[in-house]
C-alpha cells in the first residue's frame, strides 16, 4: 500500500471511529439528561409524566408523614408558592429535615404525586442546593 493510501485509510478509519463515538455519545447523553423543575413549574404542568426528572425546594413544615414501622414516607416539597406531594421509600439522608432544602430525583405519576427514587440533601446545614435556592427565588419574583 502506498504511503498516500495508508494515510487516506488512517483518516477514513479515524472519521468512522469518531462518528460512531459521536453517535454513541449524543444518544447516551439525550437518554440520560435529567431536567430540573421547580414545584411551581410542575404545578403549571410543565413537567411530563412518567419521565425521569428532578424537583427541588423546601420540605414543607409539618408535612412529613411516615407509615409506622416501614420505610415509606410522604411529604410536600415547596417553593413557598406551590406544593408538590412526594412519595419515597428508603433511608433518608442525614440532613433531611422539615424546612430544609432538598433535591429529589424520580417521576411524576398520573395523580400528580412525585415518586422519588433518590433524595439528595447537602452536607452543610447552612447550605442550600443552588437549584433549590433558584426555585425559591424564581417563585418569589412571581408573588
Amino acid at each position: 500500500m502506498t504511503p498516500r493510501r495508508k494515510r487516506m485509510l488512517t483518516v477514513a478509519v479515524l472519521l468512522i471511529g469518531m462518528s460512531i463515538t459521536a453517535i454513541l455519545l449524543v444518544s447516551a447523553f439525550k437518554q440520560n439528561l435529567l431536567y430540573f423543575y421547580t414545584p411551581t413549574q410542575i404545578a403549571n404542568g410543565e413537567a411530563s409524566i412518567d419521565k425521569g426528572i428532578r424537583v427541588g425546594g423546601l420540605v414543607k413544615e409539618g408535612s412529613l408523614k411516615r407509615t409506622e414501622g416501614t420505610l415509606d414516607i410522604r411529604f410536600l416539597v415547596t417553593d413557598e408558592v406551590n406544593d408538590i406531594p412526594v412519595k419515597y421509600s428508603g433511608i433518608l439522608p442525614d440532613l433531611f429535615r422539615e424546612g430544609q432544602g432538598i433535591v429529589a430525583r424520580g417521576k411524576m405519576d398520573a395523580d400528580g404525586v412525585f415518586i422519588a427514587d433518590e433524595i439528595l440533601a447537602k452536607h452543610d446545614e447552612n447550605y442550600m442546593p443552588p437549584e433549590a435556592q433558584d426555585a425559591l427565588d424564581a417563585a418569589k419574583t412571581l408573588k
Binding site: 439528561l33 411516615r66 409506622e68
Partner: protein, 656 residues
C-alpha cells in the same frame, strides 16, 4: 503574631516567585549565567517561605487560636489533635495554601534533583513553576487569605465538618495534590522545551520520572477518595461520577496517556506533538478541576467555597495558562517534527491508539461534567447528567483499551507483524474466554453476560501482561538471570497493567453481584441477605471525644455461626454540625459486609441499610498496584545515570 508572620511569609514567597519567574527566564534567553543561577536558590527560598507559612497556620490550629477566622470556622478545642492538623487543609483557604505549598515542594525537588540537567533548561522549568505559584499566591492574598483575623475572637470554634474528621479523608487532599500539582512539573518541562526550542528526546527522558511519580500519587489520591466515599458517606457506592470526582479523574486519564506518550517520545522520538499537548492538557485539567471545586458552581458532595469573585479569578488564570501555552505551542509547532517513521503494526501505533482512546474518554467525561454548568450559565435550563450517561459512554471506550493493554506492550517498536504477536496468544485467548464465561456461573453462582465479558477481559489483560515477562526472558539461556536483569521500567509497567486486570475484576463483580437492602427492622428481628443473617440487637446512646452517638449492634451469622458483630453509629457533633452516619464494615478480600443506620421509623424500629459488597477491595488493591508500578518505573536506572556528557552529544544530534 504567628498568623501575621504566616501572612508575611506568603508575601515573601510571592516576591521570590516574581523574581524566579522573570530573571532566570531572561537569563536563559540571553545566556546570562548569573541570572540563570538565580533559579535554584529562588526555588529553595520560595519553598522555605511557603513551608513556614503553612507551619504558622498549623501552629494556629494546634493552639486553637480562634482569633484567626479560618481556625474558628474549622476547629474547636474538643477536636482530636490529628484532626486539628488535617483541618488546616480542610476548607478553602487552607486547601489552597496546601496546593501552593506542594507546588513549592515540587519546585524544590526539581531544583535539587536536576544537577544533571542543563542549567538553562532547569531555569526555564523553575520559572514556569514560579509563574503558576504567582497565580495561586495572588489568588490567596486577594480573595482567600487563611490568616484573616476576627476582631472579636469567639471562645470556641465551630468545628471541622464531621465528614472530614476521618483518617482516610485527612490524607486524601495531600495525596491528590501531590499528583495534580505534580503535573505542573510535566507542564513546566514541556513549556521549557517549547521556549528553548529543544524538542529532541532528552526533555522527554527528564520528564518521565517526575510524571510517573505525580501520576502514582494521583492514582492513590483518587483511590483514597473512592474508599472514603464508600465507608464514610454511608451509601456503599465507590464512584458516583460526581463533578468533583470527575475533576480529579480527567487529569488522571490524560496523565495516563501522557506517561505512555512520553515513552514513545523518549525511545523513538515520535508522538512529540502529542506528548507536549498532553502535558499541557493534563495540567490544564488540574487547573480546571481546581476551578470547578473552588468556585462553588457545582452541586455536589464537596461544595466549599461559594464566592463568585473567586470563580472569576480562577477562570481568568485558567484561560491565561491554557491560552498562553497553546499559543507558544502554535509558534513552535514547525520545530516539533519527528523524522522517525513507524508501521501500522508497531508499539507506536499501540500508544497512539492509547492516546486517542484516553482522550476520547476524557472528553466524554468533560462533556458530562461541564454540560450542566454551561446550560445553567446560559440560562438554557437546569440539567443534570447522572451515572447512566457516564457508564454508557465510558465503558465502551475503555474496554477496547483494556483489551489492547498487554498486546501493545508485546508489540515491537517501529515495525512488527500482527501474526507474530498473536500466534502465541490465540490459545490463551480461547482459554480466557472459556474461563471468563465459566467464572460467573461456577464461582459466583449466577451467570450474566456482562460478568462473563468483564471476567474474560480481566483474564485477558492478566494473561497478556504476564506473558510479556515470558516474551522477554523465554529465549534467553539463563532465564533466572534474565528475570533478575529486567529493567525497573518493565516491572513498573507489568505491575500497573496487572493492576488493571484486578480493577476490571473488582468493578465487574461488585457491580453485578453485590446485594443491597434498605430494611425497616425492630430490635430482636433479623434479616437474611444471601448466605448471611443480620440480627439487629437494638440501639443505645454512647459518647465520643467530641460527639454523642446512637450506636447499633448487629450480629452477623453465616450458616448459623457468628462471624462478626457490627456497631454502626449515628453521631451528633454538636451545634453547627450535621449528624454523621458511621457505617460498620466487616472487610474481606472477597466481600465486605456493611451496615448503616438510617432513621427511627416507629416504636423501637429503625431503618437499616445492609450490604454484601463482593470483591470491592480489589478496586483499591488495583490502585495500589498501579501506583506502585508508577513509582518503581520512575526509579529505573537509566534516569539516574544521565551524564552531562551524554546530554551534550544529544544536543549535537538535534533533529530539525
Amino acid at each position: 503574631m504567628i498568623p501575621e508572620l504566616g501572612l508575611f511569609s506568603l508575601i515573601l514567597a510571592l516576591s521570590v516567585a516574581l523574581v524566579q519567574a522573570t530573571l532566570p527566564l531572561i537569563g536563559a534567553a540571553r545566556n546570562n549565567p548569573a541570572w540563570i543561577a538565580l533559579a535554584r536558590p529562588a526555588a529553595f527560598a520560595q519553598a522555605l517561605f511557603l513551608f513556614f507559612s503553612f507551619g504558622c497556620l498549623t501552629w494556629s490550629f494546634l493552639h486553637s487560636d480562634f482569633s484567626v477566622l479560618y481556625v474558628a470556622s474549622n476547629s474547636n478545642t474538643l477536636m482530636p489533635t490529628i484532626y486539628k492538623v488535617s483541618a488546616v487543609w480542610g476548607a478553602h483557604e487552607g486547601s489552597l495554601l496546601l496546593w501552593v505549598c506542594i507546588l513549592g515542594a515540587w519546585g524544590l525537588a526539581v531544583a535539587i534533583f536536576s544537577r544533571d540537567l542543563p542549567d538553562a533548561f532547569v531555569a526555564r522549568v523553575l520559572a514556569v513553576l514560579a509563574m503558576i505559584a504567582i497565580g495561586f499566591l495572588l489568588f490567596m492574598l486577594f480573595t482567600s487569605n487563611p490568616f484573616d483575623r476576627l476582631p472579636n475572637p469567639p471562645p470556641e470554634g465551630r468545628t471541622l465538618n464531621p465528614l472530614l474528621q476521618d483518617p482516610g479523608l485527612a490524607i486524601h487532599p495531600p495525596m491528590l495534590y501531590f499528583g495534580y500539582v505534580g503535573f505542573a512539573v510535566a507542564f513546566a518541562f514541556a513549556i521549557a522545551a517549547l521556549i528553548g526550542g529543544q524538542m529532541d528526546t532528552t526533555w522527554a527522558r527528564w520528564a518521565r520520572p517526575w510524571t510517573n511519580i505525580a501520576w502514582a500519587f494521583l492514582t492513590l489520591g483518587i483511590a483514597l477518595g473512592s474508599w472514603w466515599a464508600y465507608y464514610e458517606l454511608g451509601w456503599g457506592g465507590w464512584w458516583f461520577w460526581d463533578p468533583v470526582e470527575n475533576a480529579s479523574f480527567m487529569p488522571w486519564l490524560i496523565g495516563t496517556a501522557l506517561i505512555h506518550s512520553l515513552a514513545a517520545t523518549e525511545k523513538r522520538d515520535t508522538l512529540k506533538a502529542w506528548t507536549v499537548l498532553l502535558a499541557i492538557f493534563a495540567f490544564s485539567l488540574s487547573l480546571l478541576g481546581t476551578f470547578l471545586v473552588r468556585s462553588g458552581v457545582l452541586t455536589s458532595v464537596h461544595a466549599f467555597a461559594s464566592d463568585p469573585s473567586r470563580g472569576v479569578f480562577i477562570l481568568i488564570f485558567l484561560l491565561v495558562v491554557i491560552g498562553g501555552s497553546l499559543t507558544l505551542y502554535a509558534v513552535r509547532a514547525p520545530e516539533i517534527r519527528s523524522n522517525a517513521r513507524f508501521d501500522l503494526v508497531s508499539r507506536e501505533v499501540g500508544i497512539l491508539i492509547n492516546n486517542v482512546l484516553l482522550l476520547v474518554a476524557t472528553l466524554t467525561v468533560l462533556l458530562g461534567t461541564l454540560f450542566p454548568l454551561i446550560t445553567d450559565a446560559l440560562g438554557i435550563g437546569k440539567y443534570s447528567v447522572g451515572p447512566p450517561y457516564f457508564n454508557a459512554v465510558f465503558l465502551p471506550v475503555t474496554a477496547p483499551l483494556a483489551a489492547l493493554v498487554g498486546v501493545g506492550a508485546l508489540a515491537r517498536w517501529k515495525s512488527d507483524r500482527f501474526g507474530r504477536i498473536f500466534k502465541p496468544l490465540l490459545v490463551p485467548l480461547v482459554i480466557c474466554i472459556a474461563l471468563g464465561f465459566a467464572f460467573p456461573a461456577v464461582v459466583m453462582g449466577h451467570f450474566t453476560i456482562a460478568a462473563a465479558i468483564g471476567m474474560t477481559l480481566a483474564l485477558w489483560v492478566a494473561w497478556t501482561t504476564l506473558y510479556g515477562i515470558w516474551a522477554r526472558i523465554g529465549a534467553k539461556t539463563n532465564r533466572w538471570q534474565a528475570l533478575w536483569q529486567l529493567p525497573r521500567g518493565f516491572w513498573g509497567m507489568t505491575l500497573a497493567h496487572f493492576g488493571i486486570a484486578l480493577f476490571i475484576t473488582g468493578i465487574t463483580l461488585t457491580s453485578i453481584y453485590s446485594h443491597e437492602k434498605d430494611v425497616g427492622i425492630k430490635a430482636g428481628e433479623s434479616y437474611v441477605l444471601g448466605d448471611y443473617e443480620f440480627v439487629f440487637d437494638g440501639i443505645k446512646s454512647t459518647r465520643g471525644p467530641n460527639y454523642s452517638a446512637m450506636t447499633g449492634t448487629v450480629r452477623v451469622l453465616e450458616n448459623g455461626r457468628l462471624i462478626t458483630t457490627l456497631h454502626p453509629e449515628k453521631r451528633d457533633y454538636g451545634p453547627g454540625a450535621m449528624p454523621m452516619t458511621e457505617a460498620a464494615i466487616d472487610p474481606g478480600l472477597f466481600r465486605d459486609l456493611y451496615v448503616a443506620i438510617g432513621e427511627p421509623i416507629g416504636e423501637n424500629a429503625w431503618a437499616l441499610r445492609i450490604y454484601n459488597k463482593v470483591y470491592i477491595r480489589w478496586i483499591w488493591l488495583a490502585a495500589i498496584f498501579m501506583a506502585l508500578g508508577g513509582v518503581i518505573a520512575a526509579t529505573d536506572r537509566r534516569y539516574r545515570l544521565v551524564k552531562v556528557r551524554d546530554l551534550q552529544s544529544d544536543r549535537r544530534t538535534v533533529t530539525a
